[in-house]
Symmetry: C2
Subunit: 332 residues, 2 copies
Protein backbone atom coordinates (compact mmCIF):
# COMPACT_ATOMS: atom_id res chain seq x y z
CA UNK A 1 0.00 0.00 0.00
CA UNK A 2 2.55 2.57 1.10
CA UNK A 3 6.02 2.57 -0.40
CA UNK A 4 9.02 2.55 1.88
CA UNK A 5 9.54 6.25 1.90
CA UNK A 6 5.93 7.15 2.63
CA UNK A 7 5.86 4.58 5.36
CA UNK A 8 9.05 5.98 6.92
CA UNK A 9 7.69 9.48 6.78
CA UNK A 10 4.37 8.45 8.28
CA UNK A 11 6.07 6.58 11.08
CA UNK A 12 8.29 9.57 11.75
CA UNK A 13 5.30 11.89 11.94
CA UNK A 14 3.45 9.62 14.35
CA UNK A 15 6.53 9.04 16.47
CA UNK A 16 7.24 12.71 16.70
CA UNK A 17 3.63 13.60 17.38
CA UNK A 18 3.52 11.07 20.20
CA UNK A 19 6.55 12.72 21.73
CA UNK A 20 5.66 16.37 21.33
CA UNK A 21 1.87 16.44 20.93
CA UNK A 22 2.47 19.19 18.37
CA UNK A 23 1.67 19.12 14.64
CA UNK A 24 4.73 17.84 12.78
CA UNK A 25 6.16 19.80 9.85
CA UNK A 26 8.22 18.58 6.95
CA UNK A 27 11.36 20.03 8.49
CA UNK A 28 10.93 18.05 11.68
CA UNK A 29 10.50 14.86 9.67
CA UNK A 30 13.77 15.43 7.80
CA UNK A 31 15.49 16.10 11.10
CA UNK A 32 14.20 13.04 12.94
CA UNK A 33 13.64 10.32 10.35
CA UNK A 34 16.16 8.40 8.32
CA UNK A 35 14.75 9.50 4.94
CA UNK A 36 17.53 11.31 3.07
CA UNK A 37 15.48 13.74 1.01
CA UNK A 38 14.68 17.41 1.19
CA UNK A 39 11.80 18.89 3.09
CA UNK A 40 10.13 19.77 -0.20
CA UNK A 41 9.98 16.12 -1.15
CA UNK A 42 8.64 15.27 2.27
CA UNK A 43 6.00 17.93 1.78
CA UNK A 44 4.91 16.31 -1.45
CA UNK A 45 4.73 12.90 0.18
CA UNK A 46 2.86 14.29 3.15
CA UNK A 47 0.29 15.80 0.81
CA UNK A 48 -0.26 12.33 -0.63
CA UNK A 49 -0.47 10.80 2.87
CA UNK A 50 -3.07 13.40 3.71
CA UNK A 51 -5.06 12.63 0.57
CA UNK A 52 -4.94 8.95 1.52
CA UNK A 53 -6.32 9.73 4.95
CA UNK A 54 -3.30 9.01 7.12
CA UNK A 55 -2.70 12.58 8.17
CA UNK A 56 -4.61 15.80 8.58
CA UNK A 57 -3.69 19.42 8.89
CA UNK A 58 -5.29 21.28 11.77
CA UNK A 59 -5.06 24.37 9.56
CA UNK A 60 -3.36 25.36 6.35
CA UNK A 61 -0.12 26.66 7.74
CA UNK A 62 0.48 23.98 10.33
CA UNK A 63 2.23 20.65 10.34
CA UNK A 64 0.43 17.31 10.10
CA UNK A 65 -1.27 15.26 12.79
CA UNK A 66 -1.96 11.53 12.43
CA UNK A 67 -5.52 10.34 11.85
CA UNK A 68 -6.80 7.10 13.34
CA UNK A 69 -5.78 5.43 10.12
CA UNK A 70 -2.31 6.87 10.58
CA UNK A 71 -2.05 5.53 14.10
CA UNK A 72 -3.37 2.17 12.92
CA UNK A 73 -0.62 1.92 10.29
CA UNK A 74 1.97 2.93 12.86
CA UNK A 75 0.81 0.36 15.38
CA UNK A 76 0.62 -2.41 12.78
CA UNK A 77 4.11 -1.60 11.62
CA UNK A 78 5.63 -1.99 15.07
CA UNK A 79 3.78 -5.11 16.19
CA UNK A 80 5.97 -7.32 18.23
CA UNK A 81 8.85 -4.93 18.35
CA UNK A 82 7.83 -3.07 21.48
CA UNK A 83 10.45 -2.58 24.11
CA UNK A 84 10.70 -1.36 27.65
CA UNK A 85 13.66 0.38 29.08
CA UNK A 86 15.67 -1.43 31.65
CA UNK A 87 14.32 0.25 34.76
CA UNK A 88 10.77 -0.52 33.75
CA UNK A 89 11.29 -4.22 33.11
CA UNK A 90 13.35 -4.28 36.28
CA UNK A 91 10.37 -2.96 38.19
CA UNK A 92 8.11 -5.60 36.71
CA UNK A 93 10.55 -8.35 37.49
CA UNK A 94 11.10 -7.30 41.07
CA UNK A 95 7.37 -6.83 41.56
CA UNK A 96 6.59 -10.37 40.51
CA UNK A 97 9.52 -11.73 42.47
CA UNK A 98 8.00 -10.27 45.62
CA UNK A 99 4.40 -10.84 44.58
CA UNK A 100 2.37 -13.28 46.57
CA UNK A 101 -0.86 -13.62 48.38
CA UNK A 102 -4.45 -13.52 47.57
CA UNK A 103 -5.88 -13.02 44.08
CA UNK A 104 -7.76 -9.80 44.71
CA UNK A 105 -4.76 -8.08 46.22
CA UNK A 106 -2.55 -9.47 43.53
CA UNK A 107 -4.64 -7.97 40.76
CA UNK A 108 -4.96 -4.70 42.62
CA UNK A 109 -1.19 -4.40 42.87
CA UNK A 110 -0.69 -5.51 39.30
CA UNK A 111 -2.96 -2.83 37.91
CA UNK A 112 -1.13 -0.30 40.04
CA UNK A 113 2.23 -1.49 38.77
CA UNK A 114 1.12 -1.28 35.17
CA UNK A 115 -0.24 2.20 35.63
CA UNK A 116 2.86 3.41 37.43
CA UNK A 117 5.43 2.20 34.95
CA UNK A 118 3.58 3.45 31.87
CA UNK A 119 2.01 6.64 33.25
CA UNK A 120 -1.34 5.62 31.86
CA UNK A 121 -4.61 4.35 33.18
CA UNK A 122 -4.43 0.60 33.66
CA UNK A 123 -7.28 -1.89 33.86
CA UNK A 124 -7.50 -5.54 34.73
CA UNK A 125 -10.54 -7.64 33.98
CA UNK A 126 -10.69 -10.85 35.93
CA UNK A 127 -13.05 -13.27 34.29
CA UNK A 128 -14.47 -16.43 35.72
CA UNK A 129 -11.99 -18.98 34.54
CA UNK A 130 -14.07 -21.56 32.68
CA UNK A 131 -12.18 -24.54 33.88
CA UNK A 132 -11.58 -23.53 37.46
CA UNK A 133 -13.21 -25.79 39.97
CA UNK A 134 -15.28 -25.22 43.01
CA UNK A 135 -13.09 -25.75 46.05
CA UNK A 136 -15.42 -25.02 48.86
CA UNK A 137 -18.96 -23.99 49.55
CA UNK A 138 -20.51 -23.07 52.83
CA UNK A 139 -23.66 -21.41 54.15
CA UNK A 140 -23.13 -18.73 56.78
CA UNK A 141 -26.23 -17.30 58.47
CA UNK A 142 -25.86 -13.54 58.98
CA UNK A 143 -29.23 -12.65 60.43
CA UNK A 144 -32.32 -14.65 61.08
CA UNK A 145 -33.50 -14.11 57.51
CA UNK A 146 -30.33 -13.60 55.49
CA UNK A 147 -27.77 -16.28 54.78
CA UNK A 148 -24.56 -15.80 52.88
CA UNK A 149 -23.12 -18.50 50.68
CA UNK A 150 -19.36 -18.44 50.57
CA UNK A 151 -17.95 -20.24 47.57
CA UNK A 152 -14.27 -20.47 46.72
CA UNK A 153 -12.94 -21.50 43.32
CA UNK A 154 -9.56 -22.99 42.57
CA UNK A 155 -8.47 -19.70 41.01
CA UNK A 156 -8.88 -18.09 44.41
CA UNK A 157 -12.02 -16.10 43.61
CA UNK A 158 -14.44 -15.87 46.50
CA UNK A 159 -18.12 -15.56 45.65
CA UNK A 160 -20.49 -14.44 48.38
CA UNK A 161 -24.08 -14.15 47.26
CA UNK A 162 -26.80 -13.90 49.87
CA UNK A 163 -30.20 -15.50 49.98
CA UNK A 164 -33.24 -14.77 52.06
CA UNK A 165 -34.49 -17.70 54.07
CA UNK A 166 -37.37 -17.89 56.48
CA UNK A 167 -35.53 -18.78 59.59
CA UNK A 168 -34.50 -22.37 59.61
CA UNK A 169 -32.34 -23.91 62.25
CA UNK A 170 -28.63 -24.58 62.31
CA UNK A 171 -29.19 -28.21 61.41
CA UNK A 172 -30.80 -27.23 58.10
CA UNK A 173 -27.94 -24.86 57.30
CA UNK A 174 -25.44 -27.56 58.09
CA UNK A 175 -27.34 -30.08 56.02
CA UNK A 176 -27.49 -27.76 53.01
CA UNK A 177 -23.77 -27.01 53.34
CA UNK A 178 -23.08 -30.72 53.38
CA UNK A 179 -25.39 -31.35 50.44
CA UNK A 180 -23.87 -28.60 48.33
CA UNK A 181 -20.34 -29.63 49.25
CA UNK A 182 -21.00 -33.18 48.15
CA UNK A 183 -22.42 -32.19 44.79
CA UNK A 184 -20.44 -29.08 43.92
CA UNK A 185 -16.93 -29.33 45.28
CA UNK A 186 -14.56 -30.55 42.61
CA UNK A 187 -16.79 -29.72 39.66
CA UNK A 188 -15.78 -27.08 37.11
CA UNK A 189 -17.78 -23.89 37.51
CA UNK A 190 -19.07 -24.19 33.94
CA UNK A 191 -20.55 -27.58 34.56
CA UNK A 192 -22.62 -26.71 37.53
CA UNK A 193 -25.38 -29.22 38.16
CA UNK A 194 -28.90 -28.09 37.24
CA UNK A 195 -30.56 -29.41 40.33
CA UNK A 196 -29.86 -31.36 43.44
CA UNK A 197 -31.36 -34.68 44.42
CA UNK A 198 -34.12 -34.43 47.01
CA UNK A 199 -33.29 -35.31 50.57
CA UNK A 200 -36.75 -35.85 51.89
CA UNK A 201 -36.44 -32.82 54.15
CA UNK A 202 -38.47 -30.03 52.55
CA UNK A 203 -36.63 -27.15 54.27
CA UNK A 204 -33.28 -28.48 53.18
CA UNK A 205 -34.43 -28.94 49.60
CA UNK A 206 -35.92 -25.42 49.40
CA UNK A 207 -32.87 -23.70 50.86
CA UNK A 208 -30.50 -25.80 48.76
CA UNK A 209 -32.36 -24.90 45.56
CA UNK A 210 -32.27 -21.21 46.42
CA UNK A 211 -28.60 -21.44 47.26
CA UNK A 212 -27.80 -23.24 44.02
CA UNK A 213 -29.60 -20.58 42.04
CA UNK A 214 -27.74 -17.79 43.85
CA UNK A 215 -24.45 -19.56 43.21
CA UNK A 216 -25.27 -19.92 39.55
CA UNK A 217 -26.04 -16.20 39.25
CA UNK A 218 -22.92 -15.16 41.08
CA UNK A 219 -20.71 -17.43 38.98
CA UNK A 220 -22.21 -16.07 35.79
CA UNK A 221 -21.84 -12.33 36.33
CA UNK A 222 -18.52 -12.52 37.88
CA UNK A 223 -16.11 -10.39 35.91
CA UNK A 224 -14.32 -8.08 38.30
CA UNK A 225 -12.73 -4.89 37.10
CA UNK A 226 -9.74 -3.17 38.62
CA UNK A 227 -8.73 0.31 37.54
CA UNK A 228 -5.75 2.39 38.57
CA UNK A 229 -4.11 5.60 37.49
CA UNK A 230 -7.21 7.40 36.30
CA UNK A 231 -5.43 10.55 37.36
CA UNK A 232 -3.11 10.14 34.38
CA UNK A 233 -6.08 10.98 32.19
CA UNK A 234 -5.91 14.48 33.55
CA UNK A 235 -2.43 14.78 32.12
CA UNK A 236 -3.29 13.23 28.78
CA UNK A 237 -6.00 15.65 27.77
CA UNK A 238 -6.25 19.38 27.95
CA UNK A 239 -9.97 19.97 28.13
CA UNK A 240 -11.95 19.12 31.22
CA UNK A 241 -14.84 17.86 29.07
CA UNK A 242 -12.72 15.08 27.62
CA UNK A 243 -11.45 14.13 31.04
CA UNK A 244 -14.95 14.07 32.42
CA UNK A 245 -16.21 11.86 29.60
CA UNK A 246 -13.40 9.37 29.99
CA UNK A 247 -13.75 9.21 33.76
CA UNK A 248 -17.43 8.63 33.32
CA UNK A 249 -16.77 5.64 31.12
CA UNK A 250 -14.19 4.28 33.54
CA UNK A 251 -16.76 4.32 36.31
CA UNK A 252 -19.15 2.18 34.33
CA UNK A 253 -17.65 -1.20 34.99
CA UNK A 254 -19.99 -2.96 32.62
CA UNK A 255 -19.04 -0.76 29.71
CA UNK A 256 -15.34 -1.21 30.31
CA UNK A 257 -15.57 -4.96 30.75
CA UNK A 258 -17.60 -5.48 27.60
CA UNK A 259 -15.44 -3.04 25.68
CA UNK A 260 -12.35 -5.03 26.53
CA UNK A 261 -13.95 -8.37 25.80
CA UNK A 262 -15.23 -6.98 22.53
CA UNK A 263 -11.82 -5.72 21.50
CA UNK A 264 -10.32 -9.08 22.32
CA UNK A 265 -13.06 -10.91 20.44
CA UNK A 266 -12.25 -8.92 17.34
CA UNK A 267 -8.72 -10.25 17.64
CA UNK A 268 -7.20 -6.87 18.33
CA UNK A 269 -4.52 -5.93 20.79
CA UNK A 270 -4.90 -2.23 20.14
CA UNK A 271 -8.14 -0.32 19.62
CA UNK A 272 -7.68 3.24 18.45
CA UNK A 273 -10.27 5.98 18.88
CA UNK A 274 -13.59 4.99 17.34
CA UNK A 275 -12.32 1.44 16.95
CA UNK A 276 -13.22 1.08 20.61
CA UNK A 277 -16.85 1.49 19.65
CA UNK A 278 -17.38 3.75 22.65
CA UNK A 279 -18.09 7.24 21.48
CA UNK A 280 -16.63 9.24 24.40
CA UNK A 281 -13.37 7.35 23.97
CA UNK A 282 -12.82 8.86 20.52
CA UNK A 283 -9.59 10.47 21.69
CA UNK A 284 -8.37 7.36 23.47
CA UNK A 285 -6.59 4.17 22.57
CA UNK A 286 -6.76 0.88 24.39
CA UNK A 287 -3.97 -1.69 24.45
CA UNK A 288 -4.94 -5.09 25.78
CA UNK A 289 -3.44 -8.50 26.43
CA UNK A 290 -5.11 -11.57 27.87
CA UNK A 291 -3.40 -13.51 30.60
CA UNK A 292 -3.61 -17.20 31.15
CA UNK A 293 -3.55 -19.29 34.27
CA UNK A 294 -2.52 -22.88 33.74
CA UNK A 295 -3.05 -22.58 30.01
CA UNK A 296 -6.57 -21.22 30.37
CA UNK A 297 -7.73 -17.70 29.59
CA UNK A 298 -8.28 -16.08 32.97
CA UNK A 299 -8.60 -12.39 32.30
CA UNK A 300 -7.29 -9.39 30.43
CA UNK A 301 -5.06 -6.50 31.29
CA UNK A 302 -5.14 -3.24 29.43
CA UNK A 303 -3.84 0.27 29.18
CA UNK A 304 -5.99 3.23 28.31
CA UNK A 305 -4.40 6.43 27.10
CA UNK A 306 -4.77 9.19 24.58
CA UNK A 307 -4.52 8.14 20.94
CA UNK A 308 -1.08 9.67 20.98
CA UNK A 309 0.06 7.32 23.72
CA UNK A 310 3.38 5.53 23.57
CA UNK A 311 2.21 2.36 21.82
CA UNK A 312 5.57 0.68 21.72
CA UNK A 313 6.00 0.96 25.46
CA UNK A 314 2.37 0.12 26.15
CA UNK A 315 2.44 -3.03 24.03
CA UNK A 316 5.64 -4.19 25.64
CA UNK A 317 4.44 -3.44 29.15
CA UNK A 318 1.10 -5.13 28.66
CA UNK A 319 2.72 -8.18 27.09
CA UNK A 320 5.34 -8.53 29.79
CA UNK A 321 2.98 -7.98 32.68
CA UNK A 322 0.34 -10.36 31.32
CA UNK A 323 2.93 -13.08 30.87
CA UNK A 324 4.38 -12.60 34.33
CA UNK A 325 0.99 -12.30 35.95
CA UNK A 326 -0.19 -15.52 34.32
CA UNK A 327 2.93 -17.32 35.41
CA UNK A 328 2.73 -16.06 38.97
CA UNK A 329 -0.93 -16.97 39.28
CA UNK A 330 -0.29 -20.40 37.84
CA UNK A 331 2.32 -21.06 40.48
CA UNK A 332 -0.28 -20.06 43.07
Amino acid sequence: MLDDRKSSILRAVVQRYIETAQPVGSGAVVATSDVRVSSATVRNEMAVLEADGYLIQPHTSAGRVPTEKGYRFFVDSLKGRGSLDLSQSQQVRSFFARAHGELENMLRSTVHLLSTITDNTAVVVQEGSDRSQIRSVQLVPLTSTVTMIVLVTSSGVVHKPTIEVLDVGDEVTAAVTALLSTHLVGTPVRRLVDSLPGTGNEDVDTVAAAALEAVRCSLNDHAALYVDGAAHMAEAFETVETIRDVLNILEQQLVVVSLIQDVLDRGLTVAIGTETGVEPLAGCALVVAPYEVEGEHAGTIGLLGPTRMNYSEALAAVALVSRRLGRTLSEG
Copy 2:
Protein backbone atom coordinates in the same frame (compact mmCIF):
# COMPACT_ATOMS: atom_id res chain seq x y z
CA MET B 1 -19.01 38.03 66.59
CA LEU B 2 -20.89 39.24 63.55
CA ASP B 3 -24.01 41.35 63.91
CA ASP B 4 -27.18 40.27 62.17
CA ARG B 5 -26.68 42.36 59.08
CA LYS B 6 -23.10 41.33 58.49
CA SER B 7 -24.05 37.74 58.97
CA SER B 8 -26.92 38.07 56.49
CA ILE B 9 -24.67 39.71 53.95
CA LEU B 10 -21.97 37.09 54.39
CA ARG B 11 -24.45 34.27 54.00
CA ALA B 12 -25.85 35.89 50.89
CA VAL B 13 -22.40 36.23 49.37
CA VAL B 14 -21.56 32.58 50.05
CA GLN B 15 -24.93 31.37 48.83
CA ARG B 16 -24.65 33.35 45.65
CA TYR B 17 -21.05 32.33 45.06
CA ILE B 18 -21.99 28.69 45.46
CA GLU B 19 -24.64 29.13 42.79
CA THR B 20 -22.73 31.19 40.24
CA ALA B 21 -19.06 30.55 40.96
CA GLN B 22 -18.57 34.25 40.20
CA PRO B 23 -17.36 36.99 42.56
CA VAL B 24 -20.38 38.59 44.22
CA GLY B 25 -20.83 42.35 44.18
CA SER B 26 -22.78 44.58 46.51
CA GLY B 27 -25.58 44.92 43.98
CA ALA B 28 -26.12 41.20 43.79
CA VAL B 29 -26.29 40.99 47.57
CA VAL B 30 -29.01 43.62 47.72
CA ALA B 31 -30.92 41.79 44.99
CA THR B 32 -30.75 38.35 46.58
CA SER B 33 -30.60 38.84 50.33
CA ASP B 34 -33.25 40.09 52.70
CA VAL B 35 -31.21 43.04 53.98
CA ARG B 36 -33.11 46.22 53.19
CA VAL B 37 -30.27 48.64 52.75
CA SER B 38 -28.53 50.24 49.82
CA SER B 39 -25.62 48.77 47.99
CA ALA B 40 -23.38 51.45 49.43
CA THR B 41 -24.10 50.22 52.93
CA VAL B 42 -23.48 46.67 51.81
CA ARG B 43 -20.17 47.81 50.37
CA ASN B 44 -19.16 49.25 53.71
CA GLU B 45 -20.11 46.06 55.50
CA MET B 46 -18.30 43.94 52.96
CA ALA B 47 -15.15 45.97 53.47
CA VAL B 48 -15.35 45.09 57.15
CA LEU B 49 -16.01 41.43 56.38
CA GLU B 50 -12.93 41.46 54.19
CA ALA B 51 -10.84 43.04 56.91
CA ASP B 52 -12.07 40.35 59.29
CA GLY B 53 -10.99 37.64 56.86
CA TYR B 54 -14.36 36.31 55.74
CA LEU B 55 -14.10 37.53 52.17
CA ILE B 56 -11.47 38.43 49.65
CA GLN B 57 -11.42 40.37 46.44
CA PRO B 58 -9.76 38.61 43.51
CA HIS B 59 -8.88 42.10 42.27
CA THR B 60 -9.81 45.65 43.13
CA SER B 61 -12.75 46.06 40.81
CA ALA B 62 -14.35 42.70 41.35
CA GLY B 63 -16.93 41.39 43.76
CA ARG B 64 -16.07 39.36 46.83
CA VAL B 65 -15.35 35.66 47.15
CA PRO B 66 -15.63 33.73 50.44
CA THR B 67 -12.48 32.62 52.24
CA GLU B 68 -12.32 29.35 54.13
CA LYS B 69 -13.31 31.32 57.20
CA GLY B 70 -16.29 32.62 55.26
CA TYR B 71 -17.38 29.13 54.26
CA ARG B 72 -16.86 27.96 57.80
CA PHE B 73 -19.18 30.64 59.14
CA PHE B 74 -21.74 29.80 56.47
CA VAL B 75 -21.64 26.10 57.22
CA ASP B 76 -21.85 26.64 60.98
CA SER B 77 -24.81 28.93 60.49
CA LEU B 78 -26.82 26.37 58.58
CA LYS B 79 -26.04 23.32 60.70
CA GLY B 80 -29.00 21.06 60.95
CA ARG B 81 -31.11 23.04 58.56
CA GLY B 82 -30.04 21.25 55.41
CA SER B 83 -32.75 20.11 53.08
CA LEU B 84 -33.12 18.00 50.01
CA ASP B 85 -35.67 18.60 47.34
CA LEU B 86 -38.44 16.10 46.98
CA SER B 87 -37.12 14.13 44.03
CA GLN B 88 -33.80 13.58 45.75
CA SER B 89 -35.22 12.27 49.00
CA GLN B 90 -37.65 10.26 46.93
CA GLN B 91 -34.71 8.61 45.16
CA VAL B 92 -33.06 7.79 48.46
CA ARG B 93 -36.25 6.36 49.86
CA SER B 94 -36.98 4.18 46.86
CA PHE B 95 -33.37 3.04 46.73
CA PHE B 96 -33.44 1.78 50.28
CA ALA B 97 -36.85 0.29 49.80
CA ARG B 98 -35.47 -1.90 47.04
CA ALA B 99 -32.03 -2.32 48.59
CA HIS B 100 -31.03 -5.75 49.71
CA GLY B 101 -28.31 -8.28 49.39
CA GLU B 102 -24.73 -8.53 50.27
CA LEU B 103 -22.76 -5.86 52.10
CA GLU B 104 -20.18 -5.14 49.43
CA ASN B 105 -22.78 -4.60 46.73
CA MET B 106 -24.89 -2.63 49.12
CA LEU B 107 -22.10 -0.16 49.83
CA ARG B 108 -21.18 0.03 46.18
CA SER B 109 -24.73 1.00 45.25
CA THR B 110 -25.01 3.40 48.15
CA VAL B 111 -21.94 5.33 47.15
CA HIS B 112 -23.28 5.47 43.62
CA LEU B 113 -26.63 6.75 44.82
CA LEU B 114 -25.04 9.45 46.92
CA SER B 115 -22.85 10.58 44.06
CA THR B 116 -25.73 10.63 41.62
CA ILE B 117 -28.17 12.66 43.65
CA THR B 118 -25.64 15.27 44.71
CA ASP B 119 -23.46 15.48 41.60
CA ASN B 120 -20.37 15.15 43.71
CA THR B 121 -17.77 12.53 44.41
CA ALA B 122 -19.03 10.17 47.10
CA VAL B 123 -17.01 7.92 49.38
CA VAL B 124 -17.90 5.21 51.83
CA VAL B 125 -15.46 3.86 54.38
CA GLN B 126 -16.47 0.56 55.83
CA GLU B 127 -14.64 -0.05 59.05
CA GLY B 128 -14.31 -3.26 60.94
CA SER B 129 -17.21 -3.02 63.31
CA ASP B 130 -15.67 -3.48 66.75
CA ARG B 131 -18.44 -5.53 68.15
CA SER B 132 -19.22 -7.71 65.17
CA GLN B 133 -18.62 -11.36 65.76
CA ILE B 134 -16.91 -14.07 63.83
CA ARG B 135 -19.57 -16.19 62.19
CA SER B 136 -17.53 -18.68 60.29
CA VAL B 137 -13.96 -19.62 59.56
CA GLN B 138 -12.71 -22.20 57.13
CA LEU B 139 -9.46 -23.23 55.49
CA VAL B 140 -9.59 -23.76 51.74
CA PRO B 141 -6.48 -25.19 50.05
CA LEU B 142 -5.90 -23.46 46.71
CA THR B 143 -2.67 -25.08 45.62
CA SER B 144 -0.34 -27.51 47.30
CA THR B 145 1.42 -24.66 49.10
CA VAL B 146 -1.17 -21.92 49.41
CA THR B 147 -4.23 -22.09 51.60
CA MET B 148 -6.89 -19.45 51.88
CA ILE B 149 -8.68 -18.73 55.11
CA VAL B 150 -12.24 -17.60 54.60
CA LEU B 151 -13.63 -15.76 57.57
CA VAL B 152 -17.08 -14.23 57.72
CA THR B 153 -18.16 -11.70 60.35
CA SER B 154 -21.68 -11.00 61.49
CA SER B 155 -21.61 -7.68 59.62
CA GLY B 156 -21.26 -9.63 56.40
CA VAL B 157 -17.64 -8.77 55.72
CA VAL B 158 -15.66 -11.62 54.19
CA HIS B 159 -11.96 -11.76 54.97
CA LYS B 160 -9.78 -13.98 52.85
CA PRO B 161 -6.11 -13.92 53.75
CA THR B 162 -3.83 -16.62 52.42
CA ILE B 163 -1.04 -18.46 54.13
CA GLU B 164 1.75 -20.57 52.76
CA VAL B 165 1.87 -24.07 54.11
CA LEU B 166 4.21 -26.91 53.28
CA ASP B 167 1.79 -29.39 51.92
CA VAL B 168 -0.17 -31.02 54.64
CA GLY B 169 -2.99 -33.39 54.06
CA ASP B 170 -6.70 -32.79 54.02
CA GLU B 171 -7.03 -34.13 57.53
CA VAL B 172 -4.77 -31.41 58.89
CA THR B 173 -6.75 -28.74 57.04
CA ALA B 174 -9.96 -30.14 58.40
CA ALA B 175 -8.54 -30.34 61.89
CA VAL B 176 -7.36 -26.73 61.77
CA THR B 177 -10.74 -25.60 60.46
CA ALA B 178 -12.42 -27.41 63.33
CA LEU B 179 -9.97 -26.01 65.85
CA LEU B 180 -10.38 -22.45 64.65
CA SER B 181 -14.15 -22.79 64.44
CA THR B 182 -14.34 -23.98 68.02
CA HIS B 183 -12.24 -21.14 69.37
CA LEU B 184 -13.14 -18.23 67.11
CA VAL B 185 -16.75 -18.51 66.03
CA GLY B 186 -18.97 -16.38 68.21
CA THR B 187 -16.21 -14.18 69.61
CA PRO B 188 -16.09 -10.46 68.84
CA VAL B 189 -13.38 -9.61 66.32
CA ARG B 190 -11.75 -7.25 68.81
CA ARG B 191 -11.36 -9.95 71.38
CA LEU B 192 -9.55 -12.44 69.27
CA VAL B 193 -7.68 -15.01 71.30
CA ASP B 194 -3.91 -14.63 71.45
CA SER B 195 -3.09 -18.27 70.93
CA LEU B 196 -4.73 -21.62 70.60
CA PRO B 197 -4.34 -24.60 72.89
CA GLY B 198 -2.00 -27.25 71.59
CA THR B 199 -3.53 -30.33 70.09
CA GLY B 200 -0.55 -32.59 70.26
CA ASN B 201 -0.35 -32.73 66.48
CA GLU B 202 2.56 -30.54 65.46
CA ASP B 203 1.35 -29.88 61.89
CA VAL B 204 -2.06 -28.81 63.10
CA ASP B 205 -0.57 -26.50 65.70
CA THR B 206 1.81 -24.87 63.22
CA VAL B 207 -0.82 -24.28 60.56
CA ALA B 208 -3.36 -23.08 63.11
CA ALA B 209 -0.90 -20.55 64.52
CA ALA B 210 -0.11 -19.24 61.04
CA ALA B 211 -3.79 -19.04 60.23
CA LEU B 212 -4.58 -17.18 63.44
CA GLU B 213 -1.86 -14.68 62.72
CA ALA B 214 -3.15 -14.13 59.16
CA VAL B 215 -6.67 -13.66 60.47
CA ARG B 216 -5.47 -11.16 63.02
CA CYS B 217 -3.69 -9.15 60.32
CA SER B 218 -6.63 -9.20 58.00
CA LEU B 219 -9.07 -8.14 60.71
CA ASN B 220 -6.82 -5.27 61.69
CA ASP B 221 -6.26 -3.59 58.32
CA HIS B 222 -9.72 -4.02 57.17
CA ALA B 223 -11.16 -0.65 56.24
CA ALA B 224 -12.58 -0.84 52.75
CA LEU B 225 -13.06 2.26 50.65
CA TYR B 226 -15.67 2.76 47.96
CA VAL B 227 -15.54 5.77 45.67
CA ASP B 228 -17.96 6.85 42.99
CA GLY B 229 -18.50 9.89 40.82
CA ALA B 230 -14.90 10.98 40.52
CA ALA B 231 -15.91 12.29 37.12
CA HIS B 232 -17.80 15.08 38.87
CA MET B 233 -14.44 16.47 39.90
CA ALA B 234 -13.84 17.30 36.27
CA GLU B 235 -16.89 19.55 36.39
CA ALA B 236 -16.03 21.15 39.69
CA PHE B 237 -12.67 22.54 38.73
CA GLU B 238 -11.41 24.33 35.69
CA THR B 239 -7.74 23.50 35.65
CA VAL B 240 -6.53 20.03 34.81
CA GLU B 241 -3.82 20.29 37.46
CA THR B 242 -6.38 20.56 40.23
CA ILE B 243 -8.33 17.64 38.82
CA ARG B 244 -5.20 15.54 38.57
CA ASP B 245 -4.21 16.30 42.15
CA VAL B 246 -7.60 15.41 43.51
CA LEU B 247 -7.85 12.20 41.50
CA ASN B 248 -4.43 11.25 42.74
CA ILE B 249 -5.57 11.60 46.32
CA LEU B 250 -8.73 9.62 45.63
CA GLU B 251 -6.65 6.74 44.35
CA GLN B 252 -4.69 6.56 47.55
CA GLN B 253 -7.13 4.61 49.65
CA LEU B 254 -5.03 4.93 52.77
CA VAL B 255 -4.93 8.70 52.57
CA VAL B 256 -8.66 8.96 52.05
CA VAL B 257 -9.52 6.55 54.83
CA SER B 258 -7.29 8.24 57.37
CA LEU B 259 -8.44 11.67 56.20
CA ILE B 260 -12.02 10.76 56.88
CA GLN B 261 -11.30 9.13 60.20
CA ASP B 262 -9.25 12.15 61.18
CA VAL B 263 -12.03 14.57 60.29
CA LEU B 264 -14.48 12.49 62.30
CA ASP B 265 -12.09 12.29 65.24
CA ARG B 266 -11.92 16.06 65.34
CA GLY B 267 -15.67 16.04 65.72
CA LEU B 268 -16.31 17.73 62.41
CA THR B 269 -18.94 16.97 59.84
CA VAL B 270 -17.50 19.38 57.32
CA ALA B 271 -13.85 19.97 56.55
CA ILE B 272 -13.18 22.94 54.33
CA GLY B 273 -10.03 23.38 52.26
CA THR B 274 -6.93 23.20 54.41
CA GLU B 275 -9.02 21.94 57.30
CA THR B 276 -8.74 18.56 55.58
CA GLY B 277 -5.03 18.59 56.31
CA VAL B 278 -4.34 17.24 52.85
CA GLU B 279 -2.58 19.87 50.83
CA PRO B 280 -3.83 18.96 47.33
CA LEU B 281 -7.38 19.18 48.63
CA ALA B 282 -7.02 22.90 49.37
CA GLY B 283 -9.82 23.67 46.94
CA CYS B 284 -12.08 20.92 48.20
CA ALA B 285 -14.51 20.41 51.02
CA LEU B 286 -15.47 17.15 52.62
CA VAL B 287 -18.82 16.46 54.23
CA VAL B 288 -19.00 13.31 56.33
CA ALA B 289 -21.44 11.36 58.44
CA PRO B 290 -20.85 8.11 60.30
CA TYR B 291 -23.38 5.34 60.02
CA GLU B 292 -24.27 2.87 62.67
CA VAL B 293 -25.32 -0.72 62.49
CA GLU B 294 -27.22 -1.93 65.52
CA GLY B 295 -26.10 1.06 67.53
CA GLU B 296 -22.41 0.53 66.75
CA HIS B 297 -20.25 2.75 64.58
CA ALA B 298 -19.75 0.75 61.38
CA GLY B 299 -18.36 3.19 58.87
CA THR B 300 -18.54 6.64 57.37
CA ILE B 301 -20.01 8.11 54.25
CA GLY B 302 -18.81 11.33 52.73
CA LEU B 303 -19.06 13.76 49.89
CA LEU B 304 -16.10 15.46 48.34
CA GLY B 305 -16.58 18.57 46.25
CA PRO B 306 -15.15 21.99 45.59
CA THR B 307 -15.19 24.42 48.53
CA ARG B 308 -18.07 26.12 46.78
CA MET B 309 -20.17 22.96 46.90
CA ASN B 310 -23.79 23.01 47.93
CA TYR B 311 -23.29 22.40 51.67
CA SER B 312 -26.92 22.47 52.56
CA GLU B 313 -27.75 19.74 50.08
CA ALA B 314 -24.61 17.76 50.88
CA LEU B 315 -25.25 17.79 54.62
CA ALA B 316 -28.83 16.73 54.15
CA ALA B 317 -27.95 13.99 51.68
CA VAL B 318 -25.16 12.59 53.79
CA ALA B 319 -27.32 12.65 56.92
CA LEU B 320 -30.28 11.00 55.23
CA VAL B 321 -28.27 8.34 53.45
CA SER B 322 -26.20 7.45 56.51
CA ARG B 323 -29.35 7.06 58.58
CA ARG B 324 -31.08 4.94 55.99
CA LEU B 325 -27.99 2.88 55.29
CA GLY B 326 -27.52 2.14 58.96
CA ARG B 327 -31.14 1.16 59.35
CA THR B 328 -31.10 -1.09 56.28
CA LEU B 329 -27.90 -2.80 57.35
CA SER B 330 -29.24 -3.31 60.85
CA GLU B 331 -32.27 -5.09 59.46
CA GLY B 332 -29.85 -7.30 57.52
